[in-house]
Amino acid sequence: MEVILEVQELTKYFGGLAAVRNVSFVLRQGEMLGIIGPNGAGKTTLFNLLTGFLKPNGGKIIFRGENIVGLKPWTIVNQGLARTFQIVRPFHQLTGLENVVISCLSPRGAERAKKGAEEKAWKLLKSVGLAGKERMLAKDLPHGDLKRLELARALATDPELLLLDEPFAGLGLQEIYSLSPLIQRLSQEGHSIIIIEHKLRELMKLVKRVMTLHFGEKIADGTPDELSRDQRVVEAYLGKGGRTFANV
């Protein structure tokens, strides 16, 4: 299948510390890739680099055949690469509907009139399970709903590639079980997706390919099964002497 994203030797230093070092990988159209790694492994930094919120010290990010390094975050969104945040960033004083309308009004969201934008936003809210909550202010929505709102907001920009930064963080099992099929559905609808997630059991059920970062470097890339047997991945999570990955 066609390559949608190609990352070449991506490197980012914070002072003397390499947060991301020589990371390269390829993502194909419609593929769903999981990224795991202990805290501080550089996962969110990698997302910030891909979405233009940080500038890399070296390397290339080829999205749909074009190097997007140096482009502004909104330009990247308008080329079809959207993201959600690990710590949600809703517009607190705006309603659920208005939160999504903003994205619909962006150049890629392509709605000019308020009515069209509201209708599109309403459909999206319904599709992520927030029907009936569109008039509530974002500040009054519970955490689980804010995660869904982030997703709707990203989807409103009609992305081809969706980066989800810990979509399950802070959610209870029931909420995860209802959100997981939604992400699965987005993948089936043809979105290419990269997910950072600490909840490994839930992630492994969702994706067919997982990449592991450790101290900013890619140490493994393969199927969930291969990774659970990879000694370097086990050591990154459990330290030396760790034998099994099954109960993490």
């Binding site: 979405t51 919120f53 502004k72 975050p73 909104w74 330009t75 969104v77 308008n78 959207a82 993201r83 945040f85 960033r89 809703p90 517009f91 607190h92 004083q93 705006l94 309603t95 509907l97 208005e98 939160n99 309308v101 903003i102 994205s103 009004l105 962006s106 150049p107 890629r108 969201g109 308020k114 934008a117 509201e118 209708e119 309403w122 569109e134 008039r135 907001r153 990203a154 409103a156 920009t157």
Partner: protein, 319 residues
């Protein structure tokens, strides 16, 4: 479809605005005291100052501590053109707005790279420079005394009043409509979370800069009108006192609502004048009232009132 409730709030807000406009239109017909009419002309001008401040600061969250730069820029541009080149007032008002808009572009470009207190300090500093320049080039500007002999915009008081009201209704109406439009919603998203807005595909830099220019234009128009109304221009139009007064009026009225700051402008202008009877206690009472308002109505008068009214309606519906 959702949104019906919001629309009814907007409708009642618009009805309120129309009633306010009708009352203001009747002022010269029923009030024969020239001083009061002059005072309300001043309040009309202040309404444009605060509305133009609010569309930038209340909507995008960038607190401009140097709004007097735009007001004074417009006031001086109009006064100098009229004084030296005899340019008619109806032309100088637009040129004053244009000059202030250019100030918005020039100051906005570097200032918008800054955040929070750094942005506030930069705007504060930017307004201090032209204030000093009026004294340096005193031969042209008249120095601290300013220039006298600017042409009036209308020979009669009633004419001047209606012109000020027309200008206020037009400027505030346009700013209000902008604030309630899609663009206004986008500006609010920048205030709520700029990174979130960027991730929604919004070019936040462009939106902020354009708002800076628009804010400058309307403040400049009002400043230019002020010169022709007072028949005089002086450095007080560029002073930090004016910048702070605009912020106080906006906060008391309720920032980020346009109608709130406008309400604050009228109330505080009239309140300040009423205190003339107790001249020696005036500053104390004025300051104490503002501080008490900030403590007990921190959101501002208009948001507090509209919340109260909507709760009352909910209770009625419920019971």
């Amino acid at each position: 479809m959702p949104g019906q409730e919001n629309r009814s709030i907007f409708t009642s807000e618009r009805i309120g605005l129309l009633i306010a406009l009708a009352i203001l239109s009747a002022v010269p017909l029923f009030i024969k005291d020239r001083a009061i009419v002059e005072l309300i002309i001043l309040a009309n001008i202040y309404a444009v100052y605060v509305a133009s401040w609010d569309i930038l600061c209340g909507y995008t969250g960038q607190v401009n501590f140097g709004h007097a730069l735009f007001v004074g820029g417009g006031a001086y541009a109009a006064a100098l053109l009229n004084f030296y080149f005899k340019t008619p007032p109806w032309v100088t008002i637009f040129i004053g707005g244009g000059i202030a808009a250019i100030f918005g572009l020039i100051i906005g470009t570097p200032c918008l790279r800054l955040r929070g207190p750094y942005f506030a300090l930069a705007t504060f500093a930017a307004a201090a420079v032209p204030y000093g320049l009026t004294d340096v080039y005193w031969e042209i500007t008249g120095g601290l005394d300013g220039l006298y002999g600017i042409s009036p915009i209308w020979p009669t008081l009633a004419g001047r009043y209606y012109f000020s009201l027309l200008l206020t209704a037009l400027c505030c109406g346009l700013i209000y409509a902008g604030g309630r439009s899609n663009k206004g919603l986008i500006l609010k998203s920048i205030r709520e979370d700029e990174i979130g807005a960027m991730a929604s595909g919004i070019n936040t830099t462009r939106y902020k800069l354009v708002t800076f220019i628009v804010s400058g234009f309307f403040a400049g128009v009002a400043g230019a009108f002020y010169s022709h109304n007072q028949l005089h221009v002086g450095p007080e139009t560029l002073s930090i006192n004016l910048s702070i007064l605009v912020i106080i009026m906006s906060v008391v009225g309720g920032i980020g609502t346009i109608t709130g700051p406008i309400c604050g402008a009228y109330l505080l202008t009239i309140f300040n004048e009423m205190l003339r009877e107790w001249e020696e206690l005036r500053l104390l009472i004025y300051t104490a009232t503002v501080v008490l308002m900030l403590i007990f109505v921190p959101k501002g008068i208009v948001p507090a009132l509209s919340e109260g009214i909507s709760q009352l309606f909910k209770k009625r519906k419920g019971g």
